[in-house]
Symmetry: C2
DNA sequence: TCTTCATTTCGATAAATTTCGAAATAAAGC
DNA sequence: GCTTTATTTCGAAATTTATCGAAATGAAGA
């Protein structure tokens, strides 16, 4: 399963940055709660109390980071959270190459 | 093992924000490579090419987010990456309450 | 104590981000 | 073609962040 196309520093940073805002995290959380079917932007606005134009702005950032999928349907835009692999890859990025520079890599700090 | 004290939106966002910078990610990556023994700030500077005062700034953010531990030793400050649980908690935060708001939660999108 | 080395604080500037309301666009339905 | 509804774009102001060099701090050692 080749899901993890080895994130670059640049993309990883932008994904984390996308998550690094209370409003965006709230938006994402709302979408995750809503499940894979997603929600139109209007509903996101109602549930989060965030203004339309601000939502558009945040969603653009989340989409660009690949954390949210958007699909136009009629006059609505349906938004849903991205899949688990996306998140998994991010979390794994953080510990990649652990101890690569250790003089004497030891076995005392297993990850998992 | 009570490792996951249920992150608040606020702390989760600030942790992600701390990771959402190429320089900070580079710094963290350098520390992770160095392993649990950590590195003095000077070495971080040499390896990353980041200026002292800027490094102090970034490290303050990473420490405040609990992603890095710092310890004064003589005239150096040794920095090391935080533990795996910290990272794990962050990643789990993202999918918490998945589908909580679904009308009919389905079993088609297992996470794991 | 004086000097040196490692880090931090300070002050400053440039750049990016957040957030809004108002106006523009675009799809649906009459 | 108009009207309504959903979203986006467009300024714009306020705030935050990034980044640096210079000066300050503080520990070690001669």
């Amino acid at each position: 399963m080749n899901d993890t196309p080895t994130l670059t520093l640049e993309t990883a940073a932008s994904k984390f940055a996308a998550l690094g805002s209370e409003q965006r995290l709230l938006v994402l959380h709302t979408m995750v709660r809503a499940g894979p079917e997603g929600l139109p932007i209007g509903a996101l606005g109602e549930r989060t109390g965030i203004t339309g134009s601000t939502l558009t702005h945040h969603l653009k950032i989340l989409s660009a980071a690949g954390l949210v999928k958007q699909e136009k349907k009629g006059r609505s835009t349906i938004c849903a959270g991205a899949d688990y692999a996306e998140v998994q890859a991010l979390s794994e990025y953080l510990l990649r190459q652990c101890c690569a520079d250790c003089d004497a890599p030891d076995k005392d700090h297993q990850h998992g």
